[in-house]
């Protein structure tokens, strides 16, 4: 139990991955997961397989008190069964909450083998499948952390202000389910996780430590899902954003899709409530997930990877780094037809 978390190294597999997607990330940031798969296959030369039959882990339903625990366990067992059938032992999970839920379930099965046997029976009865626990289970940001130096070696851009030469000021926010429930499953433990700061440092950015760094973004599920209670969730995002403000960051990076959505969306909502803004000069701070950040440094086109779906516009960030983009293509489809654009005029730092 007496472990110095700073020195803790988590075991992350090297190749032959089975990938499971995230509900929120697919819906709100649709380019991110395709980008991740492309990076692994075409930039890092690894094998990553995505099964067309895989489903949500039902974490949203479970944490909202709608889906019972046994159902969630059986669904997750099915994911493991698909993995086993295709011959994979290493799983990459796109959503941090999902990652936490898989970890919780494996822990519950370890404490209660009868429960695990019962779930195996349910799965067999419902689908005829048999499952096996993965040998290695990581979140997608762990993979990018592991290969951060390989990515840095291939990077076309660095997280540096192209004009001044100064490193970009980056604040990170790590999802609660990543390292707070099972600290041994997070790189760096519960209090000072390093999965995102490690990446940012190898790609040239400067990581800023801010007082509310460990605070939750407020997503929750149960309170968020009921509209009148949503304000409680937002109050936590506000605490975080207020804490980041004095440091005037250029960028927020996250690993959890829910946190990404929250910090991206609510800057506008909070501004509507009381006029507060959190970036320098009264502007908003762009929010990127770790795969989107990796994509940018590797030189992918910003609109191809879906950055137009972010509420806080990323153009000024791209200008700072010196990444070229075609403003005309932002709201155009593949054939170049304009598909309409949001009627908000949001300024970012």
């Amino acid at each position: 139990m007496k472990v110095y978390w700073k020195d803790y190294q988590k075991e992350i597999a090297d190749d032959d991955f089975f990938y499971v997607r995230s509900c929120i990330r697919q819906n709100f940031f649709p380019g991110a997961e395709g980008l991740f798969i492309d990076i692994l296959r075409n930039k890092l030369g690894r094998t990553i397989y995505e099964d067309a039959d895989h489903t949500t882990c039902t974490g949203i339903g479970y944490y909202s008190g709608i889906v019972p625990l046994e159902t969630t366990m059986t669904v997750i067992a099915r994911q493991f069964a698909l993995m086993k059938e295709k011959g994979y032992k290493n799983i990459i999970i796109s959503c941090v909450t999902s990652f936490g839920l898989y970890s919780e379930i494996i822990d519950l099965w370890k404490q209660d083998p009868d429960l695990k046997a019962k779930i195996a029976d349910y799965l067999k009865a419902a689908t005829g499948r048999i499952f096996a626990e993965p040998a290695n289970m990581v979140h997608s940001s762990d993979i990018l952390y592991k290969f951060r130096n390989e990515i840095a070696a291939q990077a076309k851009y660095r997280l540096v202000n192209a004009e001044t030469g100064e490193p970009l000021r980056v604040v990170d926010h790590i999802g609660c389910h990543y390292g707070k429930i099972f600290p041994e499953r997070g790189v760096g433990g519960a209090e000072f996780p390093q999965v995102l700061s490690g990446m940012v440092k190898s790609w040239g950015g400067e990581i800023i430590d801010y007082p509310e760094r460990r605070h939750c973004c407020g997503f929750g599920f149960r309170q968020y899902i009921v509209q009148p209670n949503r304000g409680y969730s937002l109050s936590h995002s506000r605490i975080k954003l207020e804490s980041m403000k004095p440091y005037e960051p250029d960028l927020i990076v996250t690993n959890c899709p829910g946190c990404n959505m929250f910090l991206d969306r609510w800057q506008y909502t909070i501004e509507q409530e009381d006029g507060s803004s959190y970036g320098a000069n009264g502007r908003m701070i762009p929010v990127l997930s770790s795969e989107e950040l990796a994509g940018l440094v590797l030189g992918y086109d910003p609109w191809e990877i879906g950055l137009q779906t972010h509420q806080v516009p990323v153009e000024t960030l791209l200008d700072k780094i010196g990444i070229p983009y075609d403003p005309g293509m932002k709201y155009a489809d593949k054939s170049g037809n304009q598909i309409g654009k949001p009627n908000m005029n949001l300024q970012c730092v």
Binding site: R230, L234, S235, I239, T269, Q272, E273
Partner: protein, 110 residues
Amino acid sequence: MDAVKSKFGFEINQGRHIDMDRIDTRLADEISAHVRSWKACLNCGSCSATCPGGVGLRSLLLKLSTLGELTTLDTCLLCGKCFLVCPRGISTRYLIIQIIKKRREYGKAV
């Protein structure tokens, strides 16, 4: 606030935490300058337990010293039982009189 409520359907809550950096303790400081022994309070609750008037004196004094909030003492009989039982010997009856005085100064009913 109403803009958000009507547009989005919810209000953004304020935090519940006590922000010690922002609390104004001058009121409690003025009263405890008169009744120094108040600072020795342990929050044991003997006073609340014995009060025949049902005054929650322990939490009233705690809220006053921590938050600077002054609440009502209207059921206090000034019987002095709280003073009788206080293990730290705090002059609670005298303290209550000082609090009532302060409330009158601020023009509030006791």
